[in-house]
């Protein structure tokens, strides 16, 4: 593992807070990606938001990546931003192909609401505890989840 990753303050603090929360960490082009265990997501985010040295109080984005056909099939990707330190952090949570789902981050970051609805709409990933999980971009009666890799670009005809 590269030393830059090991000296990263966020990763160190997160490991101190909950050693079992971090599955894996990667670094590419100076950006840190931390894989979080699904059941620790909310607690980890609360910690990252409230810890004064880190203060990742801004959730800038939630999206997902479909790694079809490998398993676990989906990665839900969160981009956090610390307005105080001007630092960014990418969190990832893995979830399997049958009944994909993760915990909703709405209680921690209210703005996760629309982002998670979009991920649900386009990938079919469930967010447990989301207050209003309905399609947001596609029509309500649409079949299938367009951004999945097994969904053809031209759509089903």
């Amino acid at each position: 593992m590269p030393s830059e990753l090991e000296s990263n303050l966020t990763l160190k603090k997160l490991r101190e807070f909950a050693p079992q929360a971090v599955d894996e960490a990667r670094e590419f082009r100076g950006e840190i990606t931390i894989y979080i265990r699904p059941d620790m997501l909310i607690r980890a985010c609360e910690f990252l938001r409230d810890e004064p040295d880190l203060s990742f109080r801004f959730l800038s984005d939630v999206t997902a990546v479909d790694l079809y056909p490998s398993e676990p099939r989906f990665e839900v990707v969160y981009h956090l931003l610390s307005l105080k330190n001007a630092k960014r952090l990418r969190l990832k949570v893995r979830t399997g192909g049958d009944n994909p789902g993760v915990d909703s981050l709405v209680p921690v970051y209210p703005c996760a609401n629309a982002f998670e609805r979009e991920v649900f709409d386009l990938f079919g990933i469930q967010f447990a505890g989301h207050p209003y999980l309905r399609r947001i971009l596609m029509p309500e009666d649409w079949e299938g989840y367009p951004l999945r890799k097994d969904y053809p670009t031209e759509g089903y005809r």
Binding site: S60, D61, V65, L137, P139
Partner: protein, 398 residues
């Protein structure tokens, strides 16, 4: 079934008003569902997706260079800013260096884009609130900027002028003269608009204290850009995480503590002035040199060398027919669009097409704060609040 507000059990029935999707003040095809008690909005909800065209799916089906043309069409008031964000993300993935001249021209054109985007915002925002003439003036000024874009790229709006590794071509001779004329004439014009609005009692009545958001609320709801800075949060990506050599330019970040519609108006006006300063500095200091990175396997060779060099011809053939192969990895690049944080999350699997390209659209996030702003206020304030967050529905729906 279309999105609607369900009745809360035990509460008396109220009027549900569906505003949009075809409504002149929703700035595109946005539908709002408003629950009314007389003239007051009790609950509100938005319904989007009318312009959804699946850009993110299309990205995966085209090579990186072809994808640039898609980015223009998302936020159609910020085409060059979108081009810039996309190119920077791919360049980060490729880890290539962009020559100073290209960076300078990028900054200049992006700031002009910001000015013209803010001008459209100002014009439409004012006409929503009843000030008709401002729009005509704003569009007059915008026309001169679009003329510059046309001269440089051949297109008024769908420019696709920034390419991965630099610029499409060297700007034509004499383009800087147009920019200079604009920069000279514009400050007086801006005074004119301010004279029409800033101290206008009707304007103040419609904007001061309306749609107030505190700094904490704004952060929590994911607001960014001028809407966030209007709530007193000093965060501008150009300053805090400089890209494309923004660190070399001297400009101030406008913030206002009030958090209402008027504060956001003042912030945007100040941003126009600061952008003008950046344009001036960029114009005075454009360095000489190449406009494309020294990366023959990524950047198209120029016409002349293709006629004389076999290597250039081969590279051209390879790039056009196949594309280039970035390393496996993922990057997130955020840029400051006129509306806020525009982010491109790019995942590469080593093939010439992006494995996944997600756009963090600032309008999509900013729209979430709208119900919070308008609940408990009059219907008349709804249009003021929509205007103040400056959403572009093409970007919301992507």
């Amino acid at each position: 079934m279309p999105i609607t507000l369900e009745k809360i059990p035990g509460q008396e029935e109220r009027v549900i008003l569906s505003m949009g999707p075809q409504h002149p003040s929703t700035h595109g095809v946005l539908r709002l569902v408003l629950e009314l008690d007389g003239e007051t909005v009790v609950r509100a909800m938005y319904d989007i997706g009318y312009l959804h065209t699946g850009f993110e799916k299309s990205f995966e089906d085209k090579t990186y260079s072809q994808d640039i043309t898609l980015t223009d069409r998302m936020d159609y008031l910020n085409p060059l800013g979108n081009n810039l964000g996309f190119c920077l993300a791919v360049e980060k993935l490729l880890d290539i260096e962009i020559p100073a001249r290209a960076q300078w021209i990028r900054v200049l054109l992006t700031e002009l884009t910001r000015i013209q985007s803010h001008l459209v915002w100002l014009g439409t925002h004012a006409i929503d609130l009843g000030a008709m003439s401002v729009m005509l003036y704003c569009f007059r000024e915008r026309e001169t900027i679009l003329h510059i874009f046309e001269m440089v790229s051949g297109q008024r709006m769908m420019t696709s002028y920034f390419r991965i590794g630099g610029l499409a071509l060297e700007p034509p001779l004499g383009w800087l003269k147009l920019v200079e004329e604009f920069v000279k004439a514009f400050p007086a014009r801006l005074e004119e608009y301010e004279g029409l609005l800033t101290k206008n009692p009707i304007w103040l009545k419609r904007t001061v204290g309306i749609g107030t958001l505190t700094a904490d609320e704004a952060t929590g709801w994911g607001l960014s850009g001028p809407s966030l800075r209007g709530s007193g949060v000093d965060y501008d990506i150009r300053k805090k995480e400089p890209y494309s050599s923004y660190e070399k330019f001297d400009f101030k970040v406008a913030t206002r503590p009030e958090g209402d519609v008027y504060a956001r108006y003042l912030v945007r006006l100040e941003e126009i002035r600061q952008s003008l300063r950046i344009v001036q500095q960029a114009m005075d200091g454009i360095p000489e040199g190449p406009i494309k990175a020294n990366a023959p396997h990524i950047v198209l060779p120029d016409r002349e060398s293709m006629k004389t060099s076999i290597e250039a011809l081969i590279y051209h053939f390879k790039i056009v027919t196949e594309g280039f192969h970035p390393p496996v990895g993922e990057v997130y690049q955020a840029v400051e669009s006129p509306r806020g944080e525009l982010g491109f999350y790019m995942v590469s699997d080593g093939s010439p097409k992006p494995f996944r390209c997600h756009v963090r659209a600032p309008s999509f996030a900013n729209l979430q704060a709208l119900p919070k702003m308008i609940e408990g206020r009059l219907i008349a304030d709804v249009v003021a609040c929509i205007g103040s967050i400056d959403i572009i529905l093409g970007e919301v729906d992507r």
